[in-house]
């Protein structure tokens, strides 16, 4: 792998609407050719960042550099950046062809070059036969693809996608996720994607930044963000997670700690530096939790809980297990037809453990 080249630099961006600080000294570097996702709950500032990159929103402070040039003062129409809008924003009075050709015509591309490029872009999103239709005659998924074609036909340095799949139904969204990813690889264009859907972010992105309240919470690959969340917000926002309270009782050095959780002592690994007596959160993904019959022989220690709910999910069986402390733990297990001890009944006492090292230990937050 070559050293990734920085394509876009956001330095110290801030934005305040009235008393609401939507973006707070925001820094970000996006590499050339990557699929980058801005992920966060609504109101976290992700769309504001996107609009600033596009040039549709002014910055209060900070600067935006594309390929080393400051583009902060360049108007949107002069930036080599195109956007796929959440609302698609197709021009209703133009045919699909004219919609896609719009950007080329605006930038003065030679007439004889326009038709082949538009056709190519439409074929790429598999809408070659729809060139003469009006947007109103297309389904939501087709309109979505026109919006993508209309943006990529300009061969932008950066393609921005604003919650572009959120208006589609589940099945179509899944399909478009795969298609987008494939398109991005094929075109080699840098994609900056905005979403509040963590599943979407994880499955499509090379790197993800998790945002909350105008600040970066964590920046990393999907795997880093899922497996090593930097804080409780990220841990809870990305997927489901069980949260147990613990206390450091002993330091074994090299990030190994003895932690008291639910009355038992566990030897846990943590990236943070803790002192003896520190309160911590021990976080466990539901799929990392193991549930077993209590009368089976257990070489390791385990927690005892009572099954309070069972949820058949098709692929998995999700059990809600209440610990003596009152904390409820979700365990999500794949079906194993050969395992006789798989099915539990309600109110059954079960043993809970997890694969050592798969837990995440973070400083205690409320």
């Amino acid at each position: 792998m070559n050293e990734p080249r920085a394509l876009l630099n956001l330095n110290n961006l801030s934005k305040t609407y009235g008393a609401n600080r939507v973006l707070d000294n925001f820094d970000l570097t996006i590499f050339d050719g990557e699929f980058f996702t801005l992920l966060g709950p609504s109101g976290c500032g992700k769309t504001t960042v996107l609009r600033m990159i596009a040039g549709l929103e002014d910055t209060d402070t900070g600067d935006i550099q594309l390929d080393g040039h400051n583009i902060g003062q360049v108007p949107a129409e002069k930036r080599p950046i195109n956007t796929v809008f959440q609302s698609y924003a197709l021009f209703p009075h133009m045919t699909v062809f004219d919609n896609v050709a719009f950007g080329l015509r605006m930038s003065g591309v030679a007439k004889e070059e326009i038709a082949p490029r538009v056709t190519e872009a439409l074929e790429m999103v598999r809408l070659g036969d729809f060139a003469q239709r009006k947007p109103a005659q297309l389904s939501g998924g087709q309109q979505q693809r026109v919006a993508i074609a209309r943006a990529v036909v300009n061969r932008p340095k950066l393609l921005l996608l604003d919650e572009s799949l959120s208006a589609l139904d589940y099945k179509l969204r899944q399909q478009m996720q795969i298609e987008l990813k494939r398109l991005q690889r094929k075109l080699g264009i840098t994609f900056v994607y905005v979403t509040h859907d963590q599943e979407e972010a994880l499955s499509m992105s090379d790197r993800v930044v998790v945002m909350n309240k105008g600040k970066v919470q964590q920046l990393g690959t999907p795997r880093e963000i899922y497996e090593q969340p930097a804080n409780l917000f990220v841990a809870k926002f990305i997927g489901e997670i069980n949260q147990l309270d613990g206390e450091i009782v002993e330091i074994d050095g090299n990030h190994e700690y003895e932690v008291r959780v639910e009355g038992l002592k566990w030897r846990l690994h943590a990236e943070h530096n803790f002192k003896v007596g520190d309160k911590v959160n021990v976080l466990l993904r539901p799929e990392d939790v193991r549930v077993e019959y209590i009368d089976d022989p257990h070489p390791d220690q385990y927690l005892v809980g009572e099954v309070v709910e069972r949820n058949y999910k098709g692929k998995t069986l999700d059990s809600l297990i209440r610990l003596p402390s009152g904390i409820e733990v979700i365990a999500s297990e794949f079906f194993d037809e050969d395992d006789p001890s798989f099915d539990y009944s309600l109110n059954q006492k079960v043993a809970i453990k997890w694969v050592p090292g798969w837990e995440v230990v973070l400083p205690h937050e409320v």
Partner: protein, 290 residues
């Protein structure tokens, strides 16, 4: 519940139908009928039925009036569009809470009878009017300019009276225009002028056509404007019709002109529906916000 809605529908549609039949359809049928009758000094109109009145309208003198009044109305319409479009855009760009206030000011002059307001224009444009007096006072001209009783005065009068009819449909079209389409056009490299020509104008074309019709259609018949401001030479079609009914007492001939005017207006309305169908309003956007 269903019963009362049905009843409401019956009465609402029924009343409107009766009203329109009695006061629109029936009088218009009478006008059409009259246009095919013969003038009679004793009984106003009488048999036999013939198309003489229509043949007489083909006289060069009347075709000239028709052409003149069409031209003046068109010029008034174009002037209203050129003034009204930027004005409507300015209103739309104002904060939401100010827009109704400005719209209210636009229609406020309706509270004064338009005849009275036309007299006021007469005073302003006259040889002793404020414009000529100020220009003379400033030493820019020696003797009064002939402003009153010109085509210019008629067009000005039409513009003044009819401008609100242009502004209101334009405002409603511009107000509905989705700002996200502008963002998209901007994102795709369209500068302010391109955005105006490629997005704003086509998408507000139903408003443009509606405004133009709302100015053009009444303008042809506004006889009191040309009476007061145009003098004897600058006639509108409405003046001819009025003269035939009130002075010459040739009802069939006046009716024939009325029918021609109605047909002309009907043709323009047809053009309007064609134009509004051309721009499909829905689609291209879903409900979510950017």
């Amino acid at each position: 519940m269903k019963f009362s809605i049905g009843q409401f529908r019956f009465w609402a549609i029924g009343l409107a139908s009766v009203w329109l039949t009695l006061f629109v359809l029936f009088p218009n049928l009478l006008v059409i009928l009259t246009s095919f009758l013969t003038r009679d000094p004793q009984a106003t109109v009488s048999l036999p039925i013939n198309a003489d009145s229509y043949v007489r309208t083909l006289d060069l003198l009347y075709l000239r009036v028709l052409w003149d009044s069409l031209r003046m109305s068109l010029l008034a319409m174009i002037a209203c569009l050129l003034i009204g479009y930027p004005f409507a855009m300015a209103i739309v760009s104002l904060p939401k809470r100010w827009q109704p206030v400005i719209l209210f000011l636009v229609i406020l002059p309706f509270w004064t009878n338009s005849l009275v307001r036309t007299y006021a224009i007469q005073f302003i444009l006259g040889n002793q009017g404020i414009i000529n007096k100020s220009l003379i006072g400033l030493g820019l001209i020696d003797k009064p300019m002939q402003l009153l009783y010109t085509q210019f005065a008629v067009i000005l009068g039409l513009c003044y009276i009819l401008l609100p009819f242009m502004v209101l449909p334009l405002y409603s079209a511009l107000e509905k225009l989705d700002v996200r389409l502008h963002h998209a056009a901007k994102d795709l490299g369209a500068g302010p002028l391109s955005r105006f020509w490629h997005i704003t104008v086509p998408l507000t074309s139903p408003g443009i056509v509606a405004g133009c019709l709302m100015v053009l259609l009444p303008a042809m018949g506004m006889f009191y404007i040309s009476d007061l401001l145009g003098g004897a030479k600058n006639l509108l079609l409405g003046n001819v019709i009025k003269t035939q009914f009130l002075h010459t007492r040739d009802w069939p001939f006046g009716s024939a002109f009325s029918v021609i005017l109605i047909v002309l207006l009907g043709f323009m309305l047809w053009l309007y529906f064609r134009a509004s169908r051309f721009v499909s309003k829905q689609g291209g956007l879903n409900g979510s916000d950017f």
